[in-house]
Amino acid sequence: MDCTLIQGHLIGYHFATVSDDERAEVEGHLVACTACLRTYLALKAHVDRGTTDDDVPSEAARLRLRAAVQTRFRPTPARRVGRWFTRPIPLYQGLAVAAAVVLAASLGPTLAHAIHLGPAAHAAERVDSARPSAESLTIY
């Protein structure tokens, strides 16, 4: 490809719309031709320039936006409490809590029963019910 044809393909090459064969021809030419390479680099810089100093928001606009964001997202006590409840919990903390819940669930009924009945009730329960009570003895 000569320079005329190559330069006609530069915009398509930059936007990756050329075929594989065309891309290979363009790249091969750019390696060998500094004039076309300079043209391509100028085109690329111009298209991808993003912005010049003229194309950024003014400092006043930046400060205005910053103030708006700061006001909108300022931490408040209510937001802090809400975030504490919705914070992500590390795995080890979650596992510890889960283990505590399981332990409490398994021991809970036993403990609750013991607390409810008290020591005397425990002593009464230790009486051997197979032994006849005084009331059950009949004296003939």
Binding site: G8, I11, T17, R38, D55, V56, L65, V69, R72, P75
Partner: protein
Amino acid sequence: MDSDEALYARVKRGDMLAFDDLYARYAPRLFGFLRPQLPTRADAEDVFHESLLATLENDEVAFDRGSFRTWLYRIARNLVLNRARSQGRGENAMARLAPLVDDPPPAADERAAQGQMLRALDGAVARLPSPLSEIYHLRSSGLSYEEMALVLGIPLGTLKSRMNQMVNVLREELKPWTAR
């Protein structure tokens, strides 16, 4: 370096240093995307302001459905379209660049020729119809094809087709400056 999504979360917790980082990351590119599509600099600053604030405030932003960047550009694009509908677009952008369209024929000097070609490119871009102009500016802002498809809400195949159309139009417009 924190990701955009991490900075977004920190800003929502009131971390203004994170906002400063996010702003520095996106101000040039996003403003560069907006400025050519809006009649005045003040309009572009307003839309830039609204875009960033709306993205931060929007409860629907979820990064399983697109990156922070795609959300930001999608919202910015919608704001531009809303302004265009209410104000009318195109004429002011063309008026801004119209004097450049009647430049004299290319000079022999390479740098001068490049400058004229690039000015011709700006004029050609200003004359692009809206769907193609959007694609040019999104691509110039550094978005990938996939991100552009998400922002525009079109299939990737449709995007590539429009990209081809855009390039063909620009290539035709630049012929006098490349076919020497």
